[in-house]
Amino acid sequence: MADEALVAAEEAAGAAGMPQLEFSTFPNQIFWLVVTLIVIYLILSRIALPRIGAVLAERQGTITNDIAAAEDLKRQASDAEEAYNKALADARAEAQEIIAETRAEIQAELAEATAHADAEIAAKVAESEARIGEIRAGAMQSVEEVARDTATALVAALSEGKADAAAVKDAVAERMQGGSQ
C-alpha cells in the first residue's frame, strides 16, 4: 500500500514536477479555501469582532470615567489644600493682630507708669530743691547775722566806743555781696 502511494506520488511528480501546478487538485483546494474563509469570516463578524469592539469601547469608557474621577478628586484635593492654606493664613493674621494689640496695651501701660513715676520723681525733686533752697537761705542769713555780730563786737573792741549798728550792717552786707561774687 505504501509502495502504491509512493508510485502514485512519483507518477504525479513525474507528470508535473511541481505539486503547485498539479491542476487536478485546484478545485479541491479552492473549494476548501472558500469554505475556510467563509467560516472564519462568519466567526469573526458574528462573534469575535463585536465582542472585542465592545470590550475596547468599554475599556475606553472606563478609562475616561477614571480619568474624570481622578480629575475630580484632584480638584477636591487642591480645594482642600487651598482652604487649609487660607485657614492657616487667617489664623496667622489673627495671631499677629493679637500680638500687636497686646504689645500696644503693654506699651501704653508702661508709658503711663513711666509718666507717673516721672511726675512723682519730678515732684519729689522740686520739693527737695525747695527745701534745699530754704536751708541755704536760712544758712546764709545765719552767716550774715554771725558776721554782723562778730563785726560789731570787733568794731566795739577796737574803737572802744559804741559801734554804729547801721554802718556795720551795710558794710557786712556789702562784703558779703562782694564775697559771694
Binding site: 508535473a16 514536477g17 511541481m18 501546478l21
Partner: protein, 78 residues
Amino acid sequence: MEGDIANMGQFIGAGLAAIGSGAAAIGVGHVAGNFLAGALRNPSAAAGQTATLFIGIAFAEALGIFAFLVALLLMFAV
C-alpha cells in the same frame, strides 16, 4: 542527467534565473538602507513610514520571486 542536452539547458536556465534573486536582494537592501538613512536623519518621521517601507520591500521582492518562480518552472515544470 545522462547527456540529455535539453535537461542541461533546463538546469542552466534555472541557474541563470536564480541570479534574479540576487538582483532582488540588491533592490531590497537599497530600499531598507535608504529608509534607514532617512530615518536616522529624521527619526520622528520614521515610525509613520514603516508601512511604506514594507510596501517598497514587497514590490522589490516580488520581482525576485518571479525569478525564483521561473527557475522552479524550468527545473520542474518544463
